[in-house]
Symmetry: C2
Subunit: 284 residues, 2 copies
Amino acid sequence: MDRSKQTAKARKWFETLRDRICAEFEAIEREAGSDAGFAYKKWDRETEDGSEGGGGVQGLMKGKVFEKVGVNVSTVSGAFSPQFASQVNGASEEHPDFTATGISLVAHMANPHVPAVHMNTRFLTTQTAWFGGGADLNPPLPYEEDTEAFHARLRAACHAHNPTYYDRFSKWADEYFYIPHRGVHRGVGGIFYDHLECGDDVEFDRHFAFTRDVGEAFLDIYPQLVRKRMNEIWNEDEKRQQLEWRGRYAEFNLVYDRGTLFGLKTGGNIDAILMSLPPEATWS
Amino acid sequence: MDRSKQTAKARKWFETLRDRICAEFEAIEREAGSDAGFAYKKWDRETEDGSEGGGGVQGLMKGKVFEKVGVNVSTVSGAFSPQFASQVNGASEEHPDFTATGISLVAHMANPHVPAVHMNTRFLTTQTAWFGGGADLNPPLPYEEDTEAFHARLRAACHAHNPTYYDRFSKWADEYFYIPHRGVHRGVGGIFYDHLECGDDVEFDRHFAFTRDVGEAFLDIYPQLVRKRMNEIWNEDEKRQQLEWRGRYAEFNLVYDRGTLFGLKTGGNIDAILMSLPPEATWS
């Protein structure tokens, strides 16, 4: 069991998945008659002592269908601060070292009939190692059949690995993507999972296979939903609803999302972290 | 020294100030050829045990000059939760009772040359009592002379009461209205003060007089700045800058502002709390 080999394998997958997703999203832009493409920006993680800390690549496309879509891959390593180390699975003040590799994606769509979406999967190592991730659908104007199709595809990916996964992970998503001060969910759910621990190579292989299948499921179903809705006519009132709804999305990410807050308060890459915010939002 | 009389006096002032400010803002709308006016909505504070908890009035105007301006006055009372009581000046688990009365105002302006603004003053009682408040200017496109005029007026209000106030309170505003993850201030500053303790009637009278003068200074200077800039021509690029800048404003309020977070996480009136958010914002 070689942790650095595991991280390298996971990283390779996240980068491959990014390439395939970006190619697919650009193909959708072509179908809509646009020549929009992703622009990529490399960034290096700044460490306090100037040591090598890894970095990432932020991909951003502003297109005709995808009003703003960001896809980040990053592979970083270092030592958590003493206060933080004690809060992280498998880390401690004596053992603050970590590596993290992952992909994260948020798409805000021009047409209010097309759902926005979020997907993120990651592999972390401390004194232990685990996979985590999830995907959730965020339609400003929900269609029951789209919601059902999205969940059905994730359910299939989960069931292929463990009969308990979908129930557990979709409940986790319902709990996580919730805006308490509004008493509403951020979207129509999906799955959220964490701490799929890789105690040995067998467990690594198993959880890695599941995480790949979550990526495959996303890449299969989301473009279908986009293509189904991207040519629907929308009116001003529907656009207005979308912009208000995006205000809720921004509230969730800025007030509650652990990843966002962790990034903001620990000097992460601001552009990459806040890529999730909507291109435009309103509060009436 | 009768705390309830003090609260009643402060409340009366905050309501009078609200009436004068709203009348002045509506007069500005008239001058711009608009007949926009404030709409008022009463709300009652919900207490867990159903006891009387006070409430407030939320005033909202969407005009031609004032794209969205909210002015809230509220007078609430009750008992802090045990966890929270220990964090509040003069409160404790044994003595969780409090009253709070105050005015808060946020104006987001249609023309990017006109500064947005925030003003809030309040009087709290626990086992002790104090005034707090402040005002800060938030120009999307700053003019040095406007910034100077705003500060000069607040400086004069401060100096009339205590030669150390302006230095202390403007520094406090600089520290408070700061967005660490961006490394920038929210606006061009103003004053921020808290815990002007009222141990006896003499202190109450003194700090109440100062708090009234902060309100008077605001009501004197801000309308001057609005009238000076409201007829300036603006182009698309300036509007775009304003919307991006409003994204920063939303970030500050949702990630850092103690009042906003306290309200959101303790079941306050959502509409009144989030009134501070901009009518429209962008994240490019």
